[in-house]
Symmetry: C3
Subunit: 139 residues, 3 copies
């Protein structure tokens, strides 16, 4: 069984945002899969997806602090500065975290660990709406 | 063909550990796949999976040195410190390396390069046993 | 439908290189997939794959500058130095970016965003030809 659906994520502020429940509700066909893979793919180069702790908002805030420190906006080596100081760091952060997640599906649900949640990582100051392409395969 | 199996990895010390042979031996159904994908997924947010050099133990030691330097425990910006100084860095390292590997399967074996091995990346001082969910698909 | 094909990428200089068109032309079977996943896998531990901005060469140059700064060749903690100063940083960069990409396929094409392109990330000074294993699945 193959199912593909595009989800439009509403604009969110720069930072890390939990979207697990939103994604699950947008692909109800998940419930009909006994075993499979849910592939989430963000169609942008300045936002990304990752999986991390789903309980404490301070974890997500610390993600933002860490990545802002690790990929500084004012680094002297940036040459692609035409789109603003947040653009080139956003591209780097997007590749460090990656554009996709492949998540196992078991008995109609994402088979995540207790503490795992899907993060939308918005790396731009004003990234706008984001397009997510979800591809389900399995049986 | 879809097969899914949970593997419990015994507790290991903080660091990078080769687990290729252990994973292969736990999913003997791999041998019946002519072509496919083996998806390995760790169900935790403070340990991760990566693929790297399978020969020299000093490479794995240098991974530990690098990530400890790149994600310092004493950074002034951490606010999520309630679970100990190794916790928040473990979350960041887990997202930098990622929770899953999708590996090609050819003629009954993982189609890895000569020097590629699967690393369990244990980012906590006392992470305990880790749950790995393996999903095989192919024909 | 499952199709697997090995592609040999010609030697490229250290840096980040757009290979989207080359990969697409090497797997013409892509056109027969209505929906699916294209899995690209590099069989090396000192080169990697990522997805990023496909228009400006200065973005790819800034990637090289960033990763050279973030993973320095002269760090005092490297112990695996026998293969040259570019080797151990290449292993780290390869794991930060990852050995594979899982890309959605829609109506016979990679369903990438407008600005997304596949990068071959060559982390060695003289990496030589690189082997890419492409696995298509779908219907």
């Amino acid at each position: 069984m193959w199912i593909q659906r595009e989800i439009t994520l509403r604009p969110r502020p720069r930072g890390f945002h939990l979207i697990t429940a939103e994604v699950e509700s947008e692909v109800p066909e998940l419930r009909s899969l006994e075993v499979g893979i849910a592939h989430l793919f963000i169609r942008h180069t300045s936002a990304s997806l990752t999986l991390n702790e789903n309980a404490s908002p301070d974890v997500r805030r610390d993600f933002e602090s860490y990545f802002d420190e690790a990929v500084p906006e004012d680094a002297p080596y940036w040459t692609h500065t035409i789109e603003g100081p947040d653009d080139m760091p956003a591209h780097i952060k997007a590749s460090l975290l990656g554009p996709s997640l492949s998540l196992p599906v078991s008995r109609g649900r994402l088979a995540l660990g207790t503490w795992q949640g899907v993060y939308l990582c918005e790396h731009r100051d004003h990234g706008g709406a984001r397009s997510l392409l979800v591809t389900l395969s399995g049986e």
